[in-house]
Symmetry: C2
Subunit: 202 residues, 2 copies
């Protein structure tokens, strides 16, 4: 197959601009970052930037999409390392949530975006993450149906994924000075295990 | 005390403009409603409209705020009618969630806004509702501490309110053709009762 230098070059340019968007908002703050700053950081002229993006908002959206993809990859990689036979449902829930909290807190780009979450639309990212986790969880429970014989799994996973994601997002973005990560994780694990156990066929 | 006709008139005008915003978006759809349509519906000239609102987005925000207040009043009124001694925690949870779903579905303004939820910021409305429900629930559990001796109530309520609100909002806005209200309510009640019971001091 022949390579397509034009497409490859476009993609590299877009990647470089998204990298630069992340760096600039961390350095200057989301509200003070401009497309000029981003173009300068990327070493790209401003006309080229506007060839790929209509405005700053589109660049932030692309950055959110990339963060979502990165988080998913990290989570799936982390989950692949579990010894599922050795772990209880509670262990899996606690480990995954704690790992998610720590990964996101360690990412300065996410932390800067999270400062402005009330003005950003999170629904698209949430929908992408939900769809992937839903697939992951559905596969898991199909494989372990004998241990977890749950009939209405699709409803239980819908509630648990929406519920847990919203709480984690809220906790990371707005925070709550009186709630610690460890406490939140325990209650979320209670929620996940409780809802699943309640659905088991007797 | 002397009345303040100027202030009163302003408030009536703002109310009339918010009413008109609701009517126009239901009749024309959010994307096709203009401030001119709204001014015409309210019987107000466009300059007066711009005296109170900067643009259409501000009118939609004011409409969201009013919907939030209306929903809260309706919920609190509904809850006041409960015979709390005769109801289990599960009954209260199921009744409240089902009532919320039905109230919102019956409101054409909410349903039109919900079609566009991925572009509207819901965080402000959510925060207001959460704060009120948190107060309501905290008072309830303080009064019933003997029946429900839960130490880390603030964490459990934080998780449950965030989790339930997000799932209800998602279900109402995006819907899921395979999940029925009744099924969702059952699983949400499992979640609420399970998380509370797990927190009981033994």
């Amino acid at each position: 197959m022949r390579r397509k230098p034009q497409q490859l070059r476009s993609r590299e340019m877009v990647d470089r601009l998204i990298d630069a968007t992340g760096k600039v908002i961390v350095a200057r703050g989301l509200e003070y970052a401009t497309t000029n700053h981003i173009a300068e950081e990327a070493g790209v002229n401003i006309a080229s930037l506007y060839h790929y993006f209509g405005n700053k908002e589109e660049m932030i959206e692309a950055l959110q999409d990339r963060l979502t993809q990165d988080l998913l990859q990290t989570l799936v990689g982390h989950a692949a390392g579990y010894d599922l036979k050795a772990l209880s449902m509670r262990d899996i829930a606690e480990t995954s949530i704690l790992f998610t909290l720590q990964s996101l807190r360690a990412d300065p780009v996410f932390m800067e975006l999270s400062r402005h979450w009330s003005r950003l639309s999170l629904q698209r990212s949430m929908a992408v993450i939900e769809q992937h986790l839903l697939q992951l969880c559905t596969d898991y429970f199909r494989q372990h149906f004998r241990t977890y014989p749950i009939e209405d799994m699709h409803i239980r996973l819908y509630v648990l994924l929406n519920g847990a994601m919203a709480t984690v997002a809220r906790h990371l973005c707005e925070g709550s000075p009186v709630i610690r990560d460890r406490e939140l994780v325990t209650v979320l694990a209670d929620m996940i295990v409780g809802v699943l156990e309640k659905g088991m066929i007797e």
